[in-house]
């Protein structure tokens, strides 16, 4: 949908057509260029879902740029060339509408957004087979939403426990940790559990986000595809020290993962260091000034504690 279209009904002169054609071509090139830039605006891709999300976003950026520039060109043109000179009190061309044009600019956007929607539904379907997500209310049984038939045997289920304000990961092997370790290229099954309020399990490098809903266990699956250390952030506002509620996901080779598990089990269970607790203690020392908040839940007892100061890849 290029806004330049209105020229046609009035003056089909070759110069105008050439101008519009040049504008459209330039706009297409610019849009293509923009859609190539999106990877610079996003964190590294570290899960099997990430490329799908990024490609969809790139497509939308391309289409969006085309529409935006098209409209901006029309606005710019009118501001430059259709401005009334000072003291010119005349009216513009008395055009009340153009039925053909109005039909076109209803149908074309309709087609564009529906095409995007259909495409996005397909991506959704693909992602569902990659992620798989089920909400299990306490008592009822887990039913897979979409084909979660995985090729090789998945890791887990690892319990992801959200509290005000800490993350705890409990492995079937018995390891308790505040850092999520996952083997690369293997599907990991998670069970998202909140002990108090809503939280959001959000790993930007995975392009995945799922709320933890108190009263439900949400079965969730993902496949990391790149080794590294990535931030896991609480994305659903959870009160007082919400912004301190973050930790890391460490994606490592199968061997390193195994070694980490065995090593972890040899360590003692100790209370984790916790940013919210430190902030809370600082506040108490300063005379408990500030507005009301529930105190942080006691830090979990873990074999392995995260060190937030370790540099992360994304």
């Amino acid at each position: 949908m290029s806004g330049e279209a209105p020229t046609r009904p009035f003056r089909p002169d070759p110069a105008a057509i050439a101008l519009v054609a040049i504008a459209v071509v330039l706009n297409l090139l610019a849009s293509l260029w923009m859609s190539r830039q999106v990877h610079d605006w996003l964190p590294v891709q570290a899960s099997s879902a990430a490329p799908y999300v990024d490609n969809l976003f790139a497509l939308e950026t391309g289409i969006g740029t085309f529409i935006f520039l098209g409209c901006a060109c029309v606005m710019g043109w009118t501001i430059l060339f259709n401005r009334a000179p000072k003291y010119d009190m005349d009216d513009g061309a008395p055009i009340e509408g153009n039925l053909r044009l109005e039909i076109v600019w209803t149908l074309v956007p309709l087609l564009i957004v529906m095409a995007i929607a259909v495409h996005a539904i397909q991506v959704n379907q693909v992602l569902a087979t990659l992620e798989g997500k089920v909400r299990v209310s306490s008592g009822s049984e887990a039913v897979a939403v979409a084909g979660s038939a995985a090729s090789d045997e998945p890791v887990g289920p690892i319990q992801v426990i959200g509290r005000q304000w800490s993350w705890e990961f409990i492995y079937p092997e018995g390891v308790h940790s505040t850092e999520l370790h996952l083997p690369v290229d293997r599907r990991a099954r998670l069970e998202l559990i909140s002990m108090d309020v809503l939280h959001g399990f959000y790993v930007p490098a995975f392009r995945l986000k799922q709320d933890l809903v108190p009263g439900s266990v949400i079965a969730y699956a993902l496949t990391p595809t790149r080794e590294g250390r990535y931030r896991l952030r609480d994305s659903m506002f959870s009160g007082g020290y919400f912004s301190a509620n973050q930790t890391d996901v460490v994606v490592e080779s199968e061997d390193a993962y195994r070694a980490w598990l065995t090593d972890a089990l040899r360590r003692p269970l100790l209370p984790a260091a916790n940013a919210a607790t430190e902030l809370w203690q600082l506040r108490q020392e300063r005379g408990d000034r500030g507005w009301a908040t529930v105190p942080p839940a006691p830090p979990p007892l873990v074999h392995v504690d995260a060190d937030p100061a370790t540099p992360h890849d994304a």
């Binding site: 806004g3 209105p6 964190p43 999300v53 969809l56 976003f57 939308e60 969006g64 409209c71 901006a72 029309v74 606005m75 009118t78 501001i79 259709n82 401005r83 010119d88 009190m89 009216d91 513009g92 008395p94 055009i95 009340e96 509408g97 153009n98 109005e102 600019w105 956007p109 957004v113 529906m114 995007i116 929607a117 959704n124 997500k133 306490s138 309020v197 809503l198 959001g200 392009r207 986000k209 799922q210 809903v213 009263g215 949400i218 609480d234 994305s235 506002f237 959870s238 009160g239 007082g240 919400f242 912004s243 301190a244 973050q246 000034r289 500030g290 507005w291 009301a292 908040t293 529930v294």
Partner: protein, 564 residues
């Protein structure tokens, strides 16, 4: 200004403006039932709260200037952002738009006043009342609500201090009163538009502002009862130990989200529709052209009303909604872009081959349209589930909706103020100050809101008091933009205050605009046309068509000149 026409000293006590007489300021502080007085009351109160909300935003942006939470305590930050959002929505935007409804609807349709003047005044006086309640929550032990304008339970029902009167309690009370006020307003506006149009003004001769006002107020009537029900349940959970939304008691926190968004998504259209109306009024005047595709633009308003009621789950894609539901709501959300796009293209069509006059209101509308196209595109991105799963609840969303709510809607509010100021105060504003206001606002808002999109794409969650150092660049830019926006309000305030006090006297129709309100003196007398309601013989926006809007137009114009 000394009066030029001799007047009876009794008019000083008149409860409404009398042309030529010195102003009676007291009427603005009383339970006045004149829609024009109420309109100005609404706008004055809302502009005061715009400053309050802006001040809160500046403190927030000060905190976000650096990664750690060092300026204020994180709990204070939570209260600030909650109050910022609440003040801006319920005490700035809704009231300012109701102010325009009051000022514009009766004169535009040739009615003497609103259908229910006393209800109208009562609806207005609830605004300062709940404004005081909300501000009082800063003073209660524990401070104001800090659970965000969504007030999602269980965070919102945690009540850490255990007091019965707490910030969250006052917040719910204020929002509920705001709902009551809005419903009272909606009944009034709908009735007035449906029943009180001038003879000859059929539906398709009605100005688009009235179409959009009606479409928006219909949303209020459909949606607000649902929000009110949700708020009452939340209040009971908070204060009386029920567990509608508490999982321990068998409740479901997700239920609240449905109640909340069933109204609060449409609410964003309650705010933007009247601004679509402002754009549709302002572009023809300063492009000197009829509105392109008037009928389609009018109908598109109601298409938006209908669609806005069936898209709410796009705010809950990552909350635990099943796949089929995500897909359905993705499609409906996409559909709403179609009637919205129709309007955008119609405005572009209106500009095309016009004779543009780049006055302050026109500049704000052009800037607002430019920003709105951008925000519509990021809206489509948010509507696609896979992308939203990544950027939902991040600064990308904050960037999206500020580009709409500030850079489109508030621009429209400024445009409307500059455009109709002469009509309702009888004074002209200063063009130079207005243009300075526009330039600063445009620069400030791009600097403030563009970098937010980038921070969100990189994964910065919204509502945080502290953040990882990699987001520092975007946040410094955004903070600078916010401070620039603070500076931008100065020329605006100076302009409004000094123009009203000593601006040049406004003629009846300073912009050579076509519309019933411009056939009245500036400011219009209490009952607008009184006994002489003109008979409408043509559709609006007849620029360049050489046709009259009303019967005996010449004599109506003469009367407006004589009375002024």
């Amino acid at each position: 200004m000394s009066p030029t026409i001799p007047f009876d000293p009794r008019v000083l006590r008149a409860p409404h403006p009398v042309p030529g007489a010195p102003d009676n300021w007291r009427r603005f502080f009383s339970f006045n039932t004149d829609a024009k007085v109420i309109g100005i009351q609404y706008i004055a109160v809302s502009l005061f709260f715009l400053l309050v909300g802006g001040l809160l935003a500046m403190i927030m942006r000060g905190e976000l200037l650096t990664p750690p939470a060092d300026l204020v305590d994180p709990t204070v930050y939570n209260g600030l952002y909650t109050m910022h959002g609440t003040v801006m929505l319920f005490l700035f935007l809704f009231p300012v738009l109701n102010g325009f409804n009051n000022l514009l609807i009766p004169p535009m349709i040739g009615a003497p006043d609103m259908a229910f003047p006393r209800l109208n005044a009562a609806a207005f006086w609830l605004v300062p009342l709940f404004g005081v309640i909300l501000m009082a929550s800063f003073l209660v032990p524990g401070g104001p609500s800090g659970s965000g304008w969504w007030a999602y339970p269980p965070v919102s029902t945690q009540n850490p201090l255990g007091h019965f009167i707490n910030g969250q309690f006052l917040w719910i009370l204020a929002v509920a009163l705001s709902g009551v006020s809005s419903i009272m307003g909606a009944v009034n506006f709908c009735t007035t538009i449906i029943r009180m149009r001038a003879p000859g003004m059929g539906w398709f001769r009605m100005p688009i502002f009235c179409w959009t006002a009606l479409a928006a107020q219909t949303i209020q009537l459909c949606g607000l009862p649902v929000l009110t029900a949700g708020a009452v349940m939340l209040l009971f959970d908070l204060s009386f130990g029920t567990s509608f939304f508490q999982p321990e008691g068998g409740g479901d926190p997700m239920l609240y989200q449905h109640f909340f968004w069933f109204y609060s998504h449409p609410a964003v259209y309650v705010m933007v529709l009247p601004i679509f109306g402002v754009f549709s009024e302002v572009f023809p005047v300063y492009a000197r052209k009829p509105l392109f595709g008037y009928h389609v633009v009018a109908i598109a308003s109601f298409a938006i009303t209908f669609l806005s009621l069936i898209v709410w789950v796009h705010h809950m894609f990552y909350s635990g909604t099943p796949q089929w539901m995500r897909n359905v709501f993705m499609v409906t959300t996409m559909l709403i872009a179609v009637p919205t796009g129709i309007k955008v293209f119609a405005w572009l069509g209106t500009l095309w081959r016009g004779k543009l006059r780049l006055t302050t209101p026109m500049l704000f509308c052009l800037g607002g349209l430019f920003n709105f196209i951008f925000a519509g595109i990021t809206g489509i991105m948010l509507a696609t589930v896979p992308v939203d799963i990544h950027v939902g609840n991040t600064y990308f969303v904050v960037g999206h909706f500020h580009t709409v709510i500030f850079s489109t809607i508030t621009y429209g509010v400024f445009a409307a103020i500059y455009h109709w100021f002469p009509k309702f105060t009888g004074r002209m504003t200063y063009e130079g100050l207005g243009q300075l206001h526009f330039v600063l606002t445009f620069a400030g808002s791009q600097l403030n809101f563009l970098p937010m999109h980038w921070a969100g794409l990189m994964g910065m969650p919204r509502r945080v008091a502290s953040y990882d150092p990699e987001f520092a660049g975007a946040n410094v830019l955004a903070s600078l933009g916010a401070f620039l926006l603070g500076v931008a309000t100065l020329p605006f305030l100076i302009n409004i205050v000094s123009s009203w006090a000593r601006g040049a006297k406004a003629p009846a129709n300073p912009w050579q605009a076509i519309g019933l309100e411009w056939l009245l003196p500036s400011p219009p007398p209490a009952e607008n046309f009184g006994e002489h309601v003109p008979v409408v013989i043509a559709g609006p926006y007849g620029y360049g068509l050489g046709r009259d809007l009303v019967e005996n137009q010449e004599s109506v114009v003469q009367r407006s000149l004589k009375e002024a």
